[in-house]
């Protein structure tokens, strides 16, 4: 039998199995190999609940989806072309995401009676045998047995042996989609650098998986996906949390500031801590505080002392930071507050994505306490957006919100990374001592943008006292004067508004500058909306798409853009938070498309809504 190689434009593969099966690792390594082949790609890791369920159960299923192609890719894909499952639970939970006629590759050893039982499937109703998968191309193999057999010479225990199953799968799927094994081998060598036996065994498993594809005479065709025509440049793959971490280090370096990262662990923000803690050689201080209140408070202390202060959390932890954010607003110190949003309310669904904290970012503090807000729109964009957040925080002496979400945080995409020397400059607004001054230092004197200065402790002549009580204009002394209070409330608000002056106009990601329908998005819906617009265009439906990075202040030209369309559609993973703001601030009767399922939109959900609105 000759195996044909078929060329595809794009493919969506979903891996699923038990949390203990190393699914995320298969996904990440397959992604790396794919990135090196210069396909464009998007990924979506879909973790199980925060705690480990017993192996084999539905609750324990871990998934990873990758979408890659020879053209631009902006999402991890809606339904998948190929589903790779390690056990019965993985199949049961994920078969709904497989396209009609799609491929299933299943580890038949994961469908024994025990596994069926754990997945709540009747023993006599094995889906691999009962015909329920008839519409799909199903390929099964005893992957556990094959792996055990293949690496038995290394003398590993069963546990260690079975852990290599994922490398078998990675090898097999690499074969099927024509990916080279080099990067995976590199990875294995690094990961097991301390135990050569395990390293060799894993590499062996990888190879036998690959060969199995070649020799097993199961597959009639292999697939090939050419490199995508991407902008020239240097690329790497990156997740949102990694990109945010690098953006912080970069900003601190370019600003000449020590980075102080005060936080308390929480899903899905913790990985930024883990990443930053590895970069101590950049002088980065990561402070794992006793709670979120101490996290932000210590960060304010560091900002006061002249560090680039950054604090991060998700939902519940952001609630706890609100009081201290108010203090930072009064103190007018640089402070970046990262919120990697997850599905709420309360503990909610900690590993699932949602965009439901926009209004919290706007209004989640007592009193009139406006804060600038930016949101990243893709994993790699986390770098640029947080870099900009740092720049504005430092140059406008203000706390600022950076919004990401679980989908961006864990998703990966190719990143055309910049060179350090090309990054924007960041200029701290230091107070200087005027050698001739006879007056004492005035901590609340402002420049024409209304920005006050950063008076670092240690500098003679700048001694001053600041605090959370209302302060007198210019002097910063405590003031209970009525008129002064109103003045200060308005100054603080105007300072945030003034940021808009230094920002570029909002531009269009698709479509004309006026027309029937504008899709206005923010945050992680970017790729899906963009793809929907492209697909609609193919169908001859022309819509415009503009995507907000700046949520507060809104871009200067937003009002004009909004008024240039008959209809405005705002898709959000919440009940309509941006929609309320747009309606309330611009009196534009925007339509919402809302999905609150802990899952991102699919492309078709967007395009169907567009068609409905244009019908």
């Amino acid at each position: 039998m000759t195996i044909e190689t078929k060329r595809l434009n794009d493919v969506v593969i979903r891996f699923a199995g038990d949390s203990g099966d190393g699914i995320q690792l298969i996904g990440t390594e397959f992604t790396n190999a794919t990135a090196l082949l210069q396909n464009d790609l998007g990924t979506f890791p879909d973790f199980p609940a925060e705690i480990r369920a017993p192996a084999g159960t539905l609750a324990g299923v871990s998934g990873y989806q990758i979408h890659f192609g020879s053209h631009e890719i902006h999402t991890p894909g809606d339904d998948c072309d190929t589903l790779v499952v390690m056990n019965a639970a993985g199949l049961k939970k994920n078969v709904e995401f497989l396209k009609k006629g799609g491929i299933i590759i299943a580890n038949e050893d994961g469908f024994d009676n025990k596994n069926l039982r754990l997945a709540n499937i009747d023993e006599n109703d094995n889906p691999l045998k009962n015909g329920s998968l008839d519409g799909f191309s199903v390929f099964t193999a005893p992957i556990t047995k094959l792996t055990r057999e293949g690496i038995k010479d290394f003398g590993l225990g069963t546990k260690e042996t079975d852990r290599s199953r994922n490398m078998f799968v990675l090898g097999l799927i690499s074969w099927l989609y024509n990916r080279p094994l080099e990067s995976s081998i590199d990875f294995i060598n690094k990961k097991f650098s301390k135990d050569r036996t395990i390293a060799e065994a894993n590499i062996k498993a990888l190879h036998i998986g690959y060969s199995f594809g070649e020799t097993a005479e199961m597959f009639a065709e292999r697939y090939e996906i050419l490199a995508a025509p991407m902008k020239p440049g240097h690329y790497r793959g990156i997740t949102g949390n990694q990109a945010a971490s690098l953006g912080l280090v970069a900003a601190s370096q370019k600003a000449g500031l020590q980075l102080f990262y005060g936080t308390y662990p929480i899903t899905p923000a913790s990985d930024i801590l883990h990443e930053l803690a590895r970069h101590k050689n950049f002088g980065v201080i990561t402070f794992q505080a006793e709670d979120e209140i101490a996290a932000i408070s210590s960060t304010i202390g560091a900002s006061y002392g002249g560090s680039l202060g950054v604090t991060a959390s998700s939902g519940p932890g952001i609630d706890l930071k609100s009081e201290a954010m108010g203090l930072a607003i009064m103190l007018e110190l640089p402070l970046v507050v990262i919120n990697v949003q997850r599905a709420g309310p309360s503990t909610g669904m900690p590993t699932k994505t949602e965009q439901s904290d926009l209004l919290l970012a706007y209004f989640g503090r007592h009193g009139e306490a406006p804060m600038p807000i930016v949101a990243a729109n893709s994993p790699a964009d986390c770098f640029d957006t947080i870099y900009e957040a740092c720049k504005i925080a430092v140059e406008f002496m203000t706390p600022i919100f950076f919004l990401s979400d679980a989908y961006l945080a864990n998703g990966a995409e190719p990143w055309r990374f910049p060179e350090a020397k090309d990054l924007d400059s960041i200029t701290p607004q230091y107070a200087k001592v005027d050698g001739t001054a006879t007056q004492k230092y005035q901590p609340y004197l402002r420049d024409n943008r209304l920005v006050r200065q950063w008076a670092l402790p240690g500098i003679k002549g700048l001694e001053n006292r600041i605090g959370g009580l209302e302060k007198e204009d210019i002097t910063g002394n405590i003031s209970y004067d009525s008129k002064n209070h109103e003045k200060m409330v308005r100054i603080r608000a105007q300072k945030v508004e003034n940021i808009a002056q230094s920002l570029p106009d909002l531009s269009f990601d698709a479509g004309a500058e006026s027309g029937k329908l504008l899709i206005l998005g923010w945050g992680s819906t970017y790729g899906t909306i963009k793809t929907a617009c492209q697909e609609l265009k193919k169908e001859g439906i022309e819509v415009s798409h503009a995507h907000l990075r700046w949520l507060n202040p809104f871009p200067k030209n937003l009002a004009k853009i909004l008024s240039s369309f008959d209809k405005v559609l705002i898709p959000e993973n919440n009940t309509g938070q941006l929609q309320l703001l747009i309606k309330g601030k611009y009196m534009v009767d925007a339509v919402g498309l809302n999905k609150i399922q802990g899952q991102p939109f699919t492309v078709s959900e967007i395009s169907n809504k567009v068609k409905e609105l244009l019908a």
Partner: protein
């Protein structure tokens, strides 16, 4: 940033520490004395004025920074300890002081308080204990005595109060001391010891709130009762107190006993000799916390009860950073690049 204002003198005096802000405590408040003693001692500590930072929370006591012409932050309720932690960790060369009240430190701020002590940053923690919430006009605090009638406890408070120094010892404090607003000399000495100790130094100051809890500590501060009720401890000296030093404390195995030094049965050589570095005995001392109404009660100890240095958190942080820097050049491009890259032409 290194320019120098000509009209500010190189060496400063207590007067240079006075700000242009009106001091806004009630007339007669014990806070005035504490401010005075801090201003008196400060110029002798060897710091430049601009290196000193006072961080406070919220409460009458927390107004303190406004009256010290150094750097200062009047923050939010209970968080001064956490803010100071970030400041000191990031700027270890600064001389950081925390001013807090019994409510600020032990009620809302209790968690940061114990974590600060555990981490042992080299900061100075002045706890103004007036056994009441002053600023909010007189509710009981976690140090108020049982049965105290206050605005929020018209029938008497029911909470068992904290013993702040014992709590601190439980949290592995490295320095705990106690003084009082009404003994300026002792207070000055204690402020100096607090300042000079390397590590988190906790100085509890009994402070009279003459408006909402007048006389809470008069037993220890009043001429008539002070000698018999306040036990001033000094390192290496036996525990002696009482009118004319007529009483002493000895240790019978692990049990402390009050002995009469006038009968001839016991002499000072029989007494417990204070050892600041003995954790166990210091713990025992912090447990001298009897109500003065109790029969045969122990006196309340003042002075440095415990002082034993151990590594400071901020030093470990910067040592680790230095170590990491030695190990690996900080090349921004290299981390942006990461492990695997490819080029599109």
């Amino acid at each position: 940033m290194t320019e120098v204002l000509q009209h500010i003198p190189e060496v400063f005096t207590a007067k240079d520490l006075v700000t242009d802000q009106e001091v806004r405590w009630c007339p007669g408040c014990g806070d005035y004395s504490i401010l005075k003693q801090v201003q008196t001692v400060m110029p002798n500590l060897g710091y430049k004025k601009e290196e000193i930072v006072f961080v406070s929370g919220i409460g009458c006591s927390s107004r303190f920074p406004y009256y010290m012409d150094t750097f200062g932050m009047h923050s939010i309720h209970g968080r001064a300890t956490a803010i100071a932690t970030g400041l000191k960790t990031s700027r270890p060369e600064l001389n950081v002081w925390i001013v807090t009240g019994d409510g600020d430190a032990l009620s809302i701020g209790g968690n940061h308080f114990i974590h600060l002590l555990r981490r042992n940053l080299d900061v100075n923690l002045l706890l103004f204990n007036n056994q009441i919430y002053g600023l909010t006009k007189g509710q009981y605090s976690p140090t108020s005595v049982e049965g105290q009638v206050t605005k929020s406890t018209p029938f008497g408070s029911l909470d068992h109060p904290f013993n702040p120094l014992a709590l601190a010892m439980g949290a592995d404090a490295s320095f705990v001391a106690r003084s009082m607003d009404r003994d300026p000399k002792h207070l000055q000495q204690m402020i100096e010891r607090t300042a000079k100790f390397k590590g988190t130094s906790l100085l509890e100051i009994y402070q009279n709130c003459n408006v909402f809890n007048d006389g809470a500590f008069f037993t220890y501060t009043d001429k008539e009762t002070k000698a018999g009720e306040a036990l001033f401890v000094e390192n290496g000296k036996p525990l002696i107190y009482g009118e004319g030093n007529n009483k002493g404390i000895r240790l019978n195995n692990t049990t402390p006993e009050i002995v009469d030094l006038t009968t001839g049965e016991f002499s000072t050589t029989d007494l417990w000799v204070h050892d600041e570095k003995d954790y166990l005995k210091s713990t025992l001392l912090t447990r001298f916390f009897d109500s003065p109404d109790l029969e045969n009660h122990f006196p309340r100890p003042f002075g440095v009860l415990y002082a034993k240095e151990r590594p400071c958190y901020e030093d470990a942080v910067h040592a680790q950073i230095a170590y990491a820097k030695e190990g690996k050049e900080a090349d921004l491009d290299s981390i942006i690049r990461g492990r695997q890259t490819w080029v599109v032409k």
